[in-house]
């Protein structure tokens, strides 16, 4: 049975492969291990949730996977390309082409309008084969931000800012979207809406979604859940979720 399952998984294409990743920080005289020998694979089209308590290292792991941070040891490959071996600039371009990032705080650029913020990634990673206008229209319609496109971030609500941040992460049609607690700063209603939108865009565009969250209702909707505990990553069955939450 397990052999069959493994065979079935291997038939799917691996989009992210993390092998023995270690990340340590030096804090004064002590060394803190944020990520301790994490290894896992994520397949195309999956929605994987990484849960864990605050300070467990889940955001650090996500940043390392997205190429925003460097591990002390271990390897990370996206579509078979080892991003840990890339130079900073190669990695930057790679991120621009294949990775989308949604931060917990929206990190919109204050001097640009919502529309401009969404389109900023196209200025550096223009993929000529894509029709951005169509994608933009689709994102704007799906995320329901059409009326706020010409407003500055400071003129938008928290939910609207996060939607713009999602649109910005998806405008380049990335294969892999990393979301670092995208609903962390939102109320329940807005959080549900944002999640629905992420799942909707994932379905429409066909991306892989890796999300860090400590919201169990969101984690429940994931295809797979990975649990982070003091830097140690382990798979989690949905049945364990209730127990963990309690």
């Amino acid at each position: 049975m397990i052999d069959n399952l493994n065979k079935k998984e291997d038939e799917r294409r691996v989009i992210l492969e993390v092998t023995d990743v270690i990340k340590q920080y030096r804090q004064y005289d002590a060394v803190v291990t944020a990520v301790n020998r994490a290894s896992f694979k994520i397949y195309e089209g999956e929605f994987v949730a990484i849960i864990g308590s605050s300070g467990s290292g889940k955001s650090t792991l996500l940043h390392i996977c997205a190429g925003l941070d460097k591990p002390n040891a271990g390897e990370i490959a996206i579509r078979g390309q080892k991003i840990t071996d890339m130079s900073p600039d190669e990695l930057a371009r790679f991120r621009g082409n294949f990775v989308g990032m949604v931060f917990q705080t929206h990190n919109l650029i204050p001097q640009f309008t919502a529309l401009e913020n969404i389109l900023i990634p196209t200025t550096m990673c223009n993929k000529p084969e894509y029709k951005y206008e169509e994608n933009l229209k689709k994102l704007v319609a799906t995320l329901n931000i059409g009326e706020r496109l010409h407003h500055l971030p400071s003129e938008l609500s928290g939910g609207q800012q996060q939607r713009v941040a999602i649109a910005r992460a998806l405008i380049n049609l990335p294969l892999l979207v990393f979301a670092d607690e995208p609903t962390g700063n939102l109320d329940r209603k807005n959080a549900d809406e944002v999640l629905e939108l992420l799942l909707e865009t994932k379905r429409v565009i066909g991306q892989t979604l890796v999300m860090v969250t400590h919201d169990l209702s969101i984690a429940r909707r994931a295809d797979r859940i990975l649990k982070m505990d003091n830097g140690v990553l382990s798979p989690m069955m949905p049945s364990d979720l209730a127990k963990w939450g309690s």
């Binding site: 600039d89 990032m101 204050p110 200025t123 010409h150 500055l152 400071s154 380049n172």
Partner: protein
């Protein structure tokens, strides 16, 4: 007392901790406070040294307080008797009175008394009352001179001038210092709004915010006090040593500088903090990033298809335009002030190079040509000057001009229908008698910039030498060969009430009510740079003058101008020689004006170097403002750079973002520098050349508009370099941080709180 001690101790300790912990934030304030203190030290030290110079010069060159010249025998007897009778009084006004007898060439005897007063503070007036006043019963006019020694000891004359000048300049410097510190504090507040918003949310009111800021700045002031004093002393020693004068230190300077420093600190913080305390905390908290510096667009750019970094940063620059323009204007304003400093330095040098009016000759009748020629030949004498003038309005006369001649003098003319070809009338001129010796004096000494032949006034009938400026500004457009009409009063048709009318209204009434005799005059020559004054010169031969002014053109008073670089010994010899030459004639008198002494003291002040030092100090502020503001601005843009990086921007492109921004800053700063430099120098020109002359201050000096081209280019280059480097250097720090992060694996905080 203990309470005060505790209060000071607690606040200074707290401020010290804050400044030490945030020393990077305060680096700019350290530099600015240092500059401010340098202003104060420089002015205070130089005033103290100048006063000491006045003392030394007065004591070295003068033994007496009062000199009374040209007393006749009767006056001498009165004074001598007064002195004799009071010599045994215990509290007499004088210490000593020495007499000298002069027998001039025509056998007339005059007496001179040299008086040394007992107690300068009280005896001056007593001597005037008891000794000088009794002599005035005699009709003969004697001459009383209070020497610079009297002025110095009494605290009047140059000493008082120096003290007044000091307080005025200190007030001006305090205002400038407040503006500088306020500009920096505003920059700080603008970038740290978030932090202040958090403080205010936690209950900090104006008093708390103000106190914290003032104590921090006072702490900084305390730390820079001694270094700035040492640097100032060294620079002052250099300034004075270069003109052979000893630097003089007075302990009270420390108190004065501390006081002005305190005033500057309190006022520079008060206004920005007051402004901020009125803001709602939330409006400050939302400014965690640079969103408060963005000018609202209401319209998006067409970003699709645009490239990094040129388009990206061009759009950003446009959105931050108000912030950038304010920053550039603030920073370049100080370079414009530097140029103003150089302009003032130029004015000082112009003044130092101007011949000095040192002697005034007077006579009951005409001073003859021979005497003037002999005085001209005395060593150190540059030229002699005399004039016979009369305002045309006193005669109810006026001149008629063509439209082209008077079109830019609206404030000094009225329309006239007396002659269709000459529709403009003015009476803002004065008749000036000219003769050959005077014209020779003007021409040979190159006293004016003259277009045309000035001697034509003497050789051709109805020809005039006319000036074109009023209050140091060209108002009329005259050319040699032009015609003007002189309207001289002939008769009265009606009555006018001149008491209620201004000059123009009076002329309008005169034209309506009076009859005139019209004479066409040809302009023989035009003076383009006449001294300040409210009237044009209407130069005509002596005989014409006597007809028009109805008074004799005589040389009753002659001013003797000496070389600007004449030595004290030369002046002493010239004094003796001129007095000897004048003694050939009955009733000829000489008065020494003391201009040369003032000039000597001015040389000893080495003002050009001092002004230069202050100007350079002001210029130092320019990069301070640039780098302080831009460092904070780019610190807040670090998250933006991180975001760009996370979306695929390469390091090279990020560098490009900074470079493009720097290029924009550099280009914009050229235009703003030029605008501010010319505006500021223009204001100085208008103030010194026009406003002051129209108020009658420094009316004799006419300054040209001046901008030092090398200095202007230097300012522009400095502004461009600051603009570019203040945008690109933050990238070096950002890149270093990236490198550190890559090396150590530690993500560093990107905020500036």
């Amino acid at each position: 007392m203990d309470k005060l001690k505790d209060y000071l101790s607690i606040n200074f300790k707290r401020a010290f901790k804050s400044v030490r912990f945030n020393y990077r934030q305060y680096l700019c304030f350290f530099a600015a406070v240092f500059v401010v203190q340098m202003f104060f030290w420089t002015l205070t030290f130089s005033t103290d040294t100048d006063k000491d110079n006045i003392r030394r010069v007065a004591e070295d060159n003068y033994e007496h307080h009062i000199i009374i010249r040209y007393m006749n025998g009767q006056q001498y007897t009165i004074l001598n008797n007064e002195v004799y009778y009071s010599q045994f009084e215990s509290q007499r006004a004088y210490d000593s009175v020495e007499f000298e007898v002069y027998n001039d060439m025509i056998g007339r005897t005059t007496y001179t008394a040299y008086v040394t007063l007992a107690d300068i503070k009280s005896a001056g007036q007593a001597f005037e009352k008891d000794f000088i006043r009794p002599m005035r019963v005699n009709a003969n006019e004697f001459d009383v001179t209070y020497t610079p020694l009297y002025d110095y000891e009494y605290g009047s004359g140059l000493t008082r001038e120096s003290t007044t000048q000091y307080w005025l300049l200190m007030a001006l410097m305090t205002v400038l210092s407040i503006l500088l510190l306020m500009a920096l504090y505003n920059i700080r507040i603008n970038h740290y709004k978030f932090l202040y918003g958090v403080y205010m949310t936690c209950g900090a009111d104006f008093r708390k915010l103000f106190n914290t800021a003032v104590w921090e700045l006072l702490m900084i002031s305390l730390m820079t006090f001694l270094p700035s004093m040492i640097v100032s002393i060294l620079s002052m020693v250099f300034v004075y040593r270069s003109v052979g004068v000893a630097f003089h230190f007075v302990l009270s300077a420390v108190l004065k500088v501390a006081l002005f420093n305190l005033i500057a600190v309190i006022f520079s913080v008060w206004l920005p903090m007051k402004w901020m305390a009125h803001k709602a905390p939330m409006s400050l908290i939302v400014a965690q990033d640079n969103s408060n510096l963005v000018t609202s667009p209401r319209r998006s750019f067409r970003i699709l298809g645009r490239k990094m970094p040129l388009h990206y940063e061009s759009f950003s620059t446009w959105r931050f335009r108000v912030y950038f323009v304010k920053l550039i204007a603030t920073a370049t304003a100080f370079s414009a002030l530097f140029l103003c400093g150089l302009y003032i330095r130029q004015m000082v040098m112009t003044n130092l190079a101007t011949p000095i009016e040192e002697f005034q000759l007077s006579a009951a009748e005409d001073i003859d040509d021979g005497t003037v020629e002999m005085i001209m030949a005395v060593d150190g004498v540059r030229y002699c000057w005399w004039e016979n003038t009369m305002m045309a309005s006193l005669n109810s006369d006026h001149i008629l001009l063509t439209a082209a001649q008077g079109s830019s003098a609206a404030g000094y003319t009225v329309p006239s229908e007396e002659n269709a070809a000459y529709p403009i009338a003015t009476n803002q001129y004065q008749y000036t008698a000219l003769d050959k010796p005077l014209l020779d004096m003007i021409v040979q000494n190159d006293l004016y910039e003259i277009e045309g032949d000035p001697y034509s006034v003497l050789t051709q009938k109805n020809t005039v030498l006319i000036s074109d400026s009023i209050a140091n500004t060209k108002m009329f457009d005259f050319k040699p060969g032009d015609k003007i009409i002189l309207a001289s009063f002939a008769y009265r048709n009606g009555k006018i009430d001149g008491k209620q009318l201004n000059a123009q209204e009076l002329l309008r009434q005169q034209i309506m009510q009076f009859g005139f005799e019209y004479t066409e005059y040809t302009i023989g020559a035009v003076i383009h740079n006449s001294e300040a004054g409210a009237f044009l010169t209407f130069g005509i031969p002596n005989d014409t003058y006597e007809t028009l002014a109805d008074t004799k053109a005589i040389r009753q008073n002659v001013s003797v101008f000496v070389e600007p670089d004449a030595t004290t010994e030369e002046m002493s010899e010239a004094n003796e020689e001129i007095r000897s030459l004048m003694s050939f004639h009955s009733g000829y008198k000489v008065k020494q004006m003391g201009g040369h002494l003032e000039r000597t003291l001015l040389y000893m002040q080495n003002l050009p170097t001092r002004v230069m030092i202050l100007a350079v100090l002001i210029l130092i502020i320019c990069p301070l403002v640039w780098f302080f503001s831009q460092t904070l601005f780019y610190a807040k843009r670090r998250p933006e750079m991180d975001v760009l990086r996370s979306f695929g921007t390469t390091e090279r492109e990020l560098q490009g973002v900074h470079r493009v921004s720097g290029a924009y800053m550099a280009v914009i700063s050229i235009f703003i520098s030029l605008i501010l430099a010319y505006s500021a120098s223009g204001l100085v020109f208008l103030f010194c050349n026009r406003l002051m002359s129209s108020l009658g201050i420094g009316a004799g000096t006419r300054y040209e508009f001046y901008i030092s081209v090398p200095a202007l280019i230097s300012c522009i280059v400095i502004s461009m370099a600051c603009g570019y480097l203040s945008s690109t250097i933050p990238f070096l720090f950002y890149r270093a941080r990236l490198r550190r992060e890559q090396r150590t694996g530690v993500i560093e905080r990107t905020d500036i709180q």
